[in-house]
C-alpha cells in the first residue's frame, strides 16, 4: 500500500502544472505538445478511475453477444484484459467475414460496439461523446 497522494492525485498535480505553468510559458509546437501532454494525463486519470468496472461490463456484453459458455470473468485485471482482447479479436473477425451484415446478430453486435466505443470516449474525449448525443 502506497502513501497519499494516490495515483490520480499525483497525475492531477502534474496535469495542473503543465496546463497552468508550462503551457503559458511556451509557444509554437512546444506549447501545442505541452497541451497535448496535459490532455494525455487527463486520459490516464479517467482510465485509472474506471478501468476494472468498464472491462467487466465489456466482458459481460461480449459473453452475451458471442454466446460463449457461461463462466465467471477472470478475477485478475491482467487476465480480464487479455480475455476481452481475445473476444474482441474474434468479434472483429466475424464482422469481417460478413456474419454481422444482417439479422439479430447485426443488431446485437452494433449495440455492443456502440457501448464499447462510448466507453472508450468516456476516457479519451468525454466532450466529443456528449456533443454526439446532443446532436441526435
Amino acid at each position: 500500500m502506497q502513501d497519499r497522494p494516490g495515483v490520480c492525485e499525483l497525475l492531477d498535480a502534474v496535469r495542473a502544472f503543465l496546463e497552468e505553468e508550462v503551457v503559458p510559458a511556451l509557444e509554437g509546437p512546444r506549447q501545442f505538445h505541452a497541451r497535448v501532454a496535459a490532455n494525455v494525463l487527463s486520459i490516464v486519470g479517467r482510465e485509472l478511475a474506471g478501468e476494472e468496472t468498464s472491462l467487466l461490463a465489456e466482458w459481460e456484453r461480449l459473453a452475451r453477444v458471442l454466446g460463449g459458455e457461461a463462466s465467471a470473468p477472470p478475477a485478475r485485471l491482467e487476465a480480464l484484459r487479455a480475455a476481452v482482447r481475445a473476444w474482441t479479436a474474434d468479434l472483429a473477425e466475424r464482422i469481417c467475414r460478413g456474419e454481422a451484415d444482417a439479422g439479430p446478430f447485426r443488431a446485437a453486435v452494433r449495440a455492443h460496439v456502440r457501448a464499447t466505443v462510448e466507453e472508450k470516449l468516456r476516457v479519451a474525449n468525454p466532450r466529443f461523446a456528449r456533443a454526439t448525443l446532443d446532436a441526435r
Binding site: P29, V40, G98, V109, R114, T116, V117, K120, L121, A135
Partner: protein
C-alpha cells in the same frame, strides 16, 4: 561564390507527420527571401515522396492555383537527415480553431466556402495526364477509384493495426456494399480541409499539404471536407465548420467542379472518417515502434471519435 545567410530559423506548429521550418534567406547583396522548408521527420512511416509533392506544387502554381511557389527539392537524406523541399513562405494563419472562433476572422469564415469551392474546382481541373504528373498514384485499370481506395486502406490498416477494431470492421463492410460508380478521373488533393490551408482575415491565401494527392474520384475531396474532425467542434456546419453541404456543393459546381452526387459524397464522407481513423492507427503504430512524440501517442486514442461517427453515419 558568396554565401547565402540563413536567419530567423524557427519550427512551425502543426504536422505530426511532416516538419515545417520557416527561415529568411539573406542573399548576397542583401535581398531577403522568406522561405519554408518541409522535411520528413526521421524515423516516421513515410508514404509519400518530397520530390512528388514538389512537382505537384509546381504544377498547381503554374495553373494559377493559390499555392506557395516551390523553389528547391533535395532527396538526399545525407544533407539534412531526411528528404526536404523549400517553398515560398505565405504569411497568414493555419489554425482551424482560430478561423472558426476568432471575431477577427469573421470575413474569412464568410468568404471561405466560395473560395475553397473555387480552389477545389481548380485542383480538379488540373490535367492528371500531364507529363509532370505521371508519378501520381492512380486506380488500377478496370477498377473504380472508390473500390481501389477502399482496398488500399484496408491493406494499410491490416498491416499496422495494434488492436482489433470492430467498429472499423463494420465500416469496411458498409463501404464494400455500394462504392460510387466511376466518373471522369481527376487529380485528387487527398487532404483538402481547414487546417491545411493558409488564410488571412479576408480569406484563403494558399492550399498546402499535397502529400496524399492521387488520381481518382473528385468527390473524394468533397467527402473528406465533410469529415467531422475537420469541423473542429463547429458541428452545426458540416463542411469544415463553415457551411452547409448544399451551399458548398452549389458553389463547387458554379466554380466549374464536377456534378455533385450527394450519395457518392456521403460514401466518401464515411470513407474519410475511416481513413482518418486508419491514419491515427498508423500514427499510434509509429509511436509504439519508437518515434518519440506525445502527439503521435495521443492520436491512438482519437480513433474512438471516428468509430462513434462511423456508427452514427451507417445507422439504419
Amino acid at each position: 561564390m558568396e554565401a547565402v545567410a540563413i536567419e530567423h530559423l524557427r519550427r512551425l506548429a502543426g504536422g505530426a507527420s511532416r516538419e515545417m521550418w520557416a527561415f529568411d534567406a539573406v542573399l548576397p547583396g542583401g535581398a531577403v527571401e522568406r522561405l519554408v522548408l518541409r522535411r520528413d521527420p526521421p524515423g516516421h512511416q513515410v508514404l509519400s515522396s518530397r520530390r512528388d509533392e514538389f512537382a505537384l506544387l509546381a504544377a498547381a502554381h503554374a495553373a494559377g492555383l493559390r499555392v506557395p511557389r516551390a523553389r528547391w527539392c533535395e532527396e538526399d537524406a545525407a544533407v539534412l537527415g531526411s528528404p526536404f523541399f523549400v517553398m515560398d513562405f505565405v504569411a497568414g494563419e493555419a489554425l482551424a480553431r482560430r478561423l472558426l472562433r476568432d471575431a477577427a476572422f469573421a470575413p474569412a469564415r464568410a468568404a471561405l466556402p466560395g473560395q475553397l469551392a473555387e480552389a477545389l474546382a481548380g485542383i480538379h481541373a488540373l490535367d492528371p495526364r500531364a507529363p509532370g504528373l505521371t508519378f501520381l498514384p492512380r486506380p488500377p485499370a478496370g477498377g473504380t477509384p472508390a473500390a481501389a481506395e477502399l482496398t488500399r486502406h484496408e491493406q494499410l490498416y491490416r498491416a499496422v493495426a495494434l488492436d482489433p477494431h470492430p467498429a472499423l470492421e463494420l465500416a469496411f463492410r458498409w463501404l464494400a456494399v455500394a462504392p460510387p460508380a466511376p466518373r471522369a478521373e481527376t487529380v485528387v488533393h487527398g487532404d483538402f480541409r481547414v487546417g491545411n490551408v493558409i488564410f488571412g482575415p479576408e480569406g484563403l491565401r494558399a492550399v498546402l499539404d499535397w502529400e496524399l494527392a492521387h488520381v481518382g474520384d473528385p468527390l473524394e475531396d468533397v467527402g473528406w471536407l465533410c469529415v467531422r474532425a475537420w469541423r473542429f467542434g463547429a458541428d452545426a456546419q458540416p463542411v469544415g465548420g463553415l457551411c452547409q453541404r448544399a451551399e458548398f456543393f452549389a458553389a463547387y459546381e458554379r466554380a466549374g467542379g464536377v456534378r455533385v452526387d450527394p450519395v457518392a459524397v456521403r460514401w466518401w464522407e464515411v470513407f474519410g472518417n475511416l481513413k482518418w481513423a486508419i491514419i491515427c492507427v498508423m500514427q499510434a503504430r509509429s509511436f509504439v515502434d519508437g518515434a518519440r512524440s506525445v502527439e503521435l501517442a495521443s492520436l491512438g486514442r482519437r480513433v474512438a471519435e471516428m468509430e462513434l461517427e462511423l456508427l452514427e453515419l451507417t445507422e439504419g
